[in-house]
Symmetry: C2
Subunit: 443 residues, 2 copies
């Protein structure tokens, strides 16, 4: 078999650049009406019939037979046993990765997740109290894309936030359990786990069943059914985000060995055929060198077919006028993963406004961030980095405003509130404020 | 007309408390399939035909005739003129409220919205960069519930976050403009404003039209059509939350004048008939006193009919065993507004885990917080305070992870990543990590 990985070559100076660029970026998460209807039916059924419905769907979709839902629970000893069955090098790698991820998220909590308050001159206290969610559900995909690293990346921020109950669901088609996933649940401190998946698992977490407790928020990636179900239960519970295909964008000034960049593009492309890998570079000769490395390295890759299709169908090598233009194009894309493969990455970083994660310098391959650098690998895809953020401790916390108005403060605030409330025609609001005015200050 | 406001009397010691309590709390945001379909059609049409479709729907639903969408823009001079036309006392109240809201949100940004980073022992940099969204849309309801305070509460956090372009949409049925809303847009620093509303306005903001620029996030309350449209465009753009009816819960130890508490219950009930006002108190005689004040004050209220219906259909006065039990019940409700009307509010505050905003002490009426104390009045409703937060500066920012792995750091991280990537069957990930290992350290 003679595989070819031929990413589209574009140049920003070409007349049809805009059109070709836009076309290559296009990816549509159009909702499939048939999937939407099936998901709505599954959600309603599990909500109405609980365990019985969950058991039936698990049998039908996963080929997993059980007498009752309690049989589908993975207990702590089974998770521990899975961990202990691993080769020591894998045990150590999981623990090292977990420790680094935990340390990063603890810094995140300290930097942006603590309660705060202040007092006005008149003694009025204002602030915000930050508290963890009571119970969260993390969805872990099973089957071909079963990633133990995703267990760490979902469970550890929840744990660092202080969530007392973390429930994992993971489908195990025909009963096939992935020992690394179970081991990761052990390492990450998951409290309970069930071998269910799909829209039926989302329904069980959102509404609760006789066996599965209702959670406050559901996070984690999944297929089209899971995504549709999460979107539908949003409001009843919180959700993290709706993930699209994964993407990498490499901004290169030509100083990184071209085989490193080629492999970084592969590491995105190997995820699946819809994944998108893009290189932006002002040096045409360097782009040629990366393409040569792509050709040279491709035959060595076990997942060469997926890589070839992904790069050919969705990849792009874009020649830009300069690095400034490359940064501007990157902002238009708002990529999930953004490598700044430059000898001077801090020169370009301030120009980069939208990205899930920014990997600075030649040594920072995306794969180091995916597994163990510390930051979360659950990142906004498909341009949603314009308005959303990596999964973090903040996703497992919520805030309550704190207000304590002093008697003195109520005098000034009462007058302002009274005027505005009358302006809105809300007289009880006005009266409630006026009642707090001292007799001498009554309007 | 002899109006009666008769909130349900419950006692936690009564045998059927659980059932009656659950029933009274029940509120279902069931999606109306007919509304959903109409909204889907409107979204698709505005997306496809842009201005032309927006103009048609604005004519059909708002009875507002214009030649083209640019005619529907409210320009800066019109907003300023609206402000200047107000009586000085209203001008001053708007400006005072805006200044306090701005000060609070600036404190919020400093406490939880700044970039941060740290370096590992091996020189690896890890952190998060916080940036404002490029452009946001704020939806302001028109018609009977046109609240200028909501303009301040949506626009000011966006402005404090540093959003360079804030677009307001507000329907003006039959061309009736609310001068206080326009004035508030002037005071809050809205950049552009259009007199459109409904699902068609949400569509225009989410997808952009020839005249209305596409935004990155849409915030603000609206009716069932607006809520359905926001939920549907979620993912294409960010949204804040889906609001349900407003609620207040008063925890009272009996030390606050009972007419104050009665008026606070009214101030929630006057919003609309679905609003919910609940009192929790361990003192039965005090509950009687509050009911007497309700009866006495009701006839004075201009919105007495709405108040009477809301309190009778959805209100409750609940006698608890003690304040601890009242706090526990409050946590089950996760109210939007929570007044701790106690002489010792700081004794109870630590027990309160879920609430949009907590108002401490007798002087802190909800109405002071609604207008001018400083914290946001856009709060999670219907129990969603279990997992979501007040609107804040963080809603108008997003985060990008920063990772810069040093050459030395890449040696340790590369080995961990390699083991885990091989375990997941992602060999390109492993190779990308291994390529960064120094020759002596190659696996």
């Amino acid at each position: 078999m003679n595989l070819v990985a031929a990413p589209l070559r574009l140049s920003t100076t070409s007349g049809n650049f805009e059109q070709e660029f836009t076309q290559r970026l296009h990816w549509s998460a159009e909702q499939d009406a048939a999937i939407e209807q099936r998901v709505a039916d599954i959600l309603a059924d599990v909500r109405a019939r609980g365990d019985a419905a969950l058991l039936e769907y698990t049998q039908r979709f996963d080929g997993l037979h059980a007498q009752n839902v309690p049989e589908l629970e993975l207990h702590a000893d089974e998770l521990r046993a899975a961990f202990e069955s691993l080769p020591p090098v894998q045990q150590q790698a999981l623990q090292d990765a977990a420790a680094r991820v935990r340390r990063y998220h603890e810094a995140q909590r300290r930097a942006s997740g603590e309660s705060w308050s202040y007092r006005d001159e008149d003694g009025t206290l204002l602030g915000q109290k930050v508290t963890p969610l009571d119970r969260v559900g993390i969805y872990v995909p099973g089957g071909k894309a079963a990633y133990p690293s995703s267990v760490l990346m979902n469970a550890i921020p929840a744990q660092v936030a202080g969530v007392p109950e973390i429930i994992m669901v993971v489908p195990t088609p025909h009963g096939a359990k992935n020992p690394l996933v179970l081991a990761a649940a052990h390492v990450a401190g998951v409290h309970r786990a069930f071998t269910v998946g799909g829209a039926q698992a989302v329904a069980a977490l959102a509404h609760g069943t006789q066996t599965i407790p209702r959670v406050d928020k559901i996070t984690g990636p999944g297929n089209a059914y899971v995504a549709s179900a999460k979107k539908r239960v949003f409001g009843t519970v919180g959700i993290d985000m709706i993930a699209g295909p994964s993407e990498i964008l490499v901004l290169a000034d030509g100083s990184t060995p071209p085989d490193w960049v080629a492999m970084d593009l592969f590491s995105q492309a190997e995820h699946d055929e819809l994944a998108q890998s893009i290189l932006l570079c002002p040096d045409a000769a360097y782009i040629d060198a990366v393409q040569r490395e792509i050709d040279r390295l491709l035959p060595e890759m076990p997942r060469a077919e997926i890589i070839a299709k992904s790069l050919t169908d969705r990849g792009a090598l874009i020649h830009t006028r300069d690095m400034e233009e490359a940064c501007a194009i990157s902002n238009r894309i708002a990529p999930e993963h953004l490598e700044v493969s430059s000898r001077d990455p801090h020169r370009w970083e301030p120009l980069l406004r939208h990205a899930g994660a920014i990997f600075l310098g030649a040594y920072t391959s995306e794969s180091l961030g995916d597994y163990c650098a510390g930051p979360n690998h659950v990142l906004p895809t498909s341009g949603t980095a314009r308005f959303s953020s990596p999964l973090g401790v903040y996703d497992f916390q919520k805030r309550s405003s704190l207000i304590e108005v002093s008697e003195q403060g109520a005098q000034e605030l009462g007058r302002i509130a009274s005027v505005l409330a009358h302006g809105e025609g809300l007289q009880a609001h006005a009266r409630a404020a006026e009642m707090r005015l001292l007799p001498t200050a009554q309007c």
